[in-house]
């Protein structure tokens, strides 16, 4: 049986046939896209059905997020969100809570349902909006039931008497520890590490971890994604991460596939202790592949520290306050590991955040190209926080791809301009326009939970480059809506090596679609993030999005 979906318009992203109005699907495959008239030869001798449910909607290729972290999402999503910004979730929006009074009120109401066994954990507290948090403030709301308030930045948490009691943290235990304020119930930086270690049995509890992954499933569907990539399997615990995803995502009613990319260094210990053993293990991972969960010949490496934490490695003139960035391994070790995977023919995905971190990746790539030249090798620069135009030129010549986090521009460019690296460099973070001009295959990702897992939001930032203060940062680095849509469909597919199967609507590809209420290439670009996603279609099966 052939099913023909009619739409107001189909944006195919296939340059040879950019717009159509109907698409014929058999099982999980696209037979043809065009008009009812043009697909007659298919329909004449076969049973078919015309489905009109999307006739007033726009169909685009199924959206792809080529870099997020299901295991981090699984930890965060079970907590109760009380946040200064509005967060949109499939189970309802988290409204903006912007005053201390409202914060306390919301907390009090929510307390009736503990999030983690007996403990209530809330995430999103921000001093600026919600006022300083303390044990006594929490005790006034509730002193017996354990409450843990986790800061938006992840760098601090606060407990009431009930929580300290429940976790068995006494004044004696933490005496003299400089980043723990027992009196005020506050744990920050390394002190936070101490508290998190006590909380680990709850936040990493297998049942709650599962609950978190199920919530992520809804979030991914809600964002219109039909393909995601877990860009560092092994972040916490390899077996646990793989087994749980297998249990929860490998079934008929899961509306997306998951590409799994192993975290090479995290697997060293698991594999027996050396890089060579890790490579042997990673080479065998595809043996575990199922229909929806797949390892390929890809691997994840890191150069420098996290962009949000301001430990990216920068070239001169560095950070305004003179602090140093961080390396995650020595350049020698990075090169050694990269060589092992390069010579075995892997596509290497490298986390790079600062321009010096990027420089190390490019120097290494250039050296490896000289030793063992490869074409279309899929070496991908992930995140791409700060860069120079010269580096974009060079990476283009070396054949690298870019998978950028555009959201940096939105959330961090104002802060970075005023406090961290100055206006010139801050405004050109996520230098995506240059990448398109140099012909680099460039995709966009969320790195969820770093940014919302909503590709249309990433596209909106890349197209408009408007930061949280409403300023346009380096308009020259904006991309067109057409390029923006490429970045979350066909280019993202290329970055994952799946462009032969997904990323455009054309005969022979998987029937993966995202159905929108407005045309993202025709509307005012500032409205792209507000486009409503009506449904996704995964391998020919319709998954409507229920509005709540």
């Amino acid at each position: 049986m052939i099913k023909v979906y009619k739409a107001k318009s189909i944006i195919t992203m296939n340059p040879s046939l950019p717009r159509t109005e109907a698409v014929a699907v058999r099982d999980s495959l696209i037979l043809e896209t065009g008009s009812l008239d043009s697909m007659k030869p298919w329909l004449e001798n076969n049973d078919y059905e015309i489905d009109e449910q999307f006739r007033d909607s726009i169909i685009v290729p199924g959206l792809i997020d080529p870099h997020l972290h299901p295991s981090m999402a699984a930890v965060l999503l079970p907590t109760f969100f009380i946040t200064a910004m509005e967060w949109r979730f499939p189970w309802g929006d988290t409204p903006a809570t912007t005053s201390p009074e409202d914060y306390d009120k919301r907390l009090k109401e929510a307390l009736t349902n503990p999030t983690h066994k007996d403990i209530f954990i809330t995430w999103g507290h921000h001093d600026l909006w919600h006022g300083p948090m303390s044990r006594s403030r929490l005790n006034k709301i509730e002193s017996n039931k354990p409450i843990v308030v986790w800061n938006r930045s992840f760098h601090e948490l606060c407990m009431n008497d009930g929580a300290l009691d429940y976790l068995g943290i006494t004044e004696d235990d933490v005496k003299g520890a400089s980043q723990i304020d027992f009196e005020r119930g506050r744990f920050f930086e390394l002190g936070l590490g101490y508290a998190v270690q006590k909380l680990n049995p709850y936040i990493l509890d297998p049942e709650i971890f599962k609950e978190g992954l199920l919530k992520l499933k809804e979030v991914v569907h809600f964002g219109g994604q039909t393909t995601i990539a877990d860009m560092a399997v092994g972040l916490f615990n390899f077996d646990n991460e793989f087994d749980t995803q297998l249990e929860l995502y490998e079934n008929e009613d899961n509306p997306f596939r998951v590409e799994l990319i192993a975290h090479a260094t995290a697997l060293i210990q698991y594999a027996g202790g050396s890089n060579l053993e890790a490579e042997k293990l990673i080479a065998k991972l595809p043996e575990r592949n199922t229909h929806k969960l797949n390892f390929r010949k890809r691997v994840k490496l890191f150069t420098d520290g996290a962009f949000f934490a301001q430990v990216a490695q920068l070239m001169e003139p560095g950070y305004i306050d003179g602090h140093e960035g961080e390396w995650l391994s020595t350049p020698e070790q990075f090169e050694e590991v990269a060589r092992i995977y390069w010579n075995q023919g892997y596509a290497i995905h490298v986390h790079v955040t600062g321009d010096l971190g990027l420089e190390l990746a490019l120097d290494t790539l250039e050296k490896l190209q000289f030793e063992k030249p490869r074409f279309n090798h899929g070496f991908t620069l992930e995140h791409f926080g700060l860069s120079t135009p010269e580096q974009v030129y060079r990476l283009s010549k070396l054949g690298a791809n870019v998978s950028a986090n555009a959201y940096y521009v939105h959330e961090l460019s104002d802060l970075y301009a005023n406090h961290t690296v100055g206006s010139e460099r801050a405004s050109s973070m996520s230098r995506i326009g240059s990448c398109f001009r140099e012909g680099v295959t460039t995709g966009l990702h969320s790195d969820f939970t770093m940014a919302p897992a909503q590709p249309l939001m990433s596209m909106w930032v890349a197209v408009n480059r408007v930061n949280e203060k409403g300023n346009v940062m380096s308009p020259e680095e904006r991309i067109t809506p057409q390029q923006g849509l490429e970045a979350i469909t066909i280019n993202a597919a290329r970055i994952l090596g799946l462009d032969h199967e997904i990323g455009t609507v054309r005969a022979g590809k998987k029937a993966d679609f995202t159905v929108l209420n407005k045309d993202p290439l025709e509307i005012d670009p500032m409205e792209i993030k507000d486009i409503e996603i009506i449904a996704t279609v995964f391998e020919g099966k319709v998954f409507p999005i229920n509005k709540k």
Binding site: S178, Q179, G273, P331, H351
Partner: protein, 280 residues
């Protein structure tokens, strides 16, 4: 309190050799935590520790503290009845970040930061495109430097960086390099240590912010304080390196983020509560 020592140094500088020497000299069980990113087990295997007192660490999540691997290893070490714990930092670690564990983690106190420098590669590393700043930081943040495989010019380089170093040949007992109660030994010269009997030392670790001028006034007024060295954090969030002796009191801005950590050498009892006026 278990004394915690950070042994830092770039790849190949000789950290493992030093740790093995420490272990050979040790009379009591010592816990060793190896924090390296490369072939972990290989590094950990090179440590000649009896029993299971060596743990390797992996890097956790780079964006948050969820995988508190170092912290949980410190907790495990508490169970093991060790006399002291030594962390072999990764080749690119900024040792002061690890030192914060000694100041913060319940049950531990910071013994000091010892950096190992290999003369042969020093010049190249200090001008390296990628790691020059990291290597310089490892030298500047150290309480004590052990210099090996060196020539005279390497000594000059270290002197120019104002680094306190000792060479392999000068080492009598490796333990003297680090375990001096909780005082980082090389805040003070050999001579001063000889006079130790008449001096006492106190350490102030706090996350309260300190007013620089008030601290200076306090130090000048308190005639029992002979020397002070360490970092303070002021009300603007800036970190300053303080070096004070009888003839001068010198603050220099430091690019390292750390809480206040000061070592005082004094002749009469020093009540740390009497320091209240220095906080801002």
């Amino acid at each position: 309190m278990i004394p915690l020592t950070i042994i830092s140094g770039y790849l190949g500088s000789g950290k493992t050799t030093l740790i093995n020497q420490l272990l050979r000299e040790a009379k009591n069980p010592i816990g060793v935590l190896v924090n390296d990113f490369g072939d972990l087990q290989v590094d950990a295997k090179l440590i000649e520790n009896k029993d299971s007192l060596t743990l390797s660490l992996t890097n956790g999540c780079v964006c948050c503290n969820l995988n508190e691997d170092l912290g949980s290893s410190l907790e495990q070490m508490k169970e093991k009845d060790v006399e002291a714990v030594v962390i072999e930092a990764s080749g690119v670690a900024l040792p002061i970040k690890l030192a914060n564990y000694g100041l913060t983690w319940p049950g531990y106190s910071l013994s000091g930061i010892l950096s190992v420098v290999q003369g042969e590669s020093l010049i190249n590393l200090l001008s390296d495109k990628f790691v020059s700043k990291t290597v310089r930081a490892q030298i500047e943040q150290a309480d004590q430097i052990l210099l090996n495989r060196f020539q005279d010019k390497d000594k000059e380089i270290l002197s120019r960086l104002n680094a306190d170093y000792i060479t392999e040949k000068e080492v009598k007992s490796y333990w003297d390099l680090i375990f001096e109660e909780i005082t980082p030994v090389n805040c003070f010269t050999e001579q001063e240590l000889d006079q130790h009997s008449t001096f006492q030392s106190s350490v102030l670790s706090t996350d309260k912010v300190i007013n620089r001028n008030r601290l200076e006034r306090y130090l000048i007024k308190n005639s029992s304080i002979e020397r002070a060295k360490g970092w303070i954090r002021d009300e603007g969030g800036k970190t300053w390196l303080l070096q004070m002796n009888k003839s001068e009191c010198n603050f220099s801005i430091s690019s390292y983020e750390t809480n206040t950590r000061l070592v005082f050498i004094h002749t009469q009892d020093l009540d740390l509560n009497s320091l209240d006026p220095i906080y801002s």
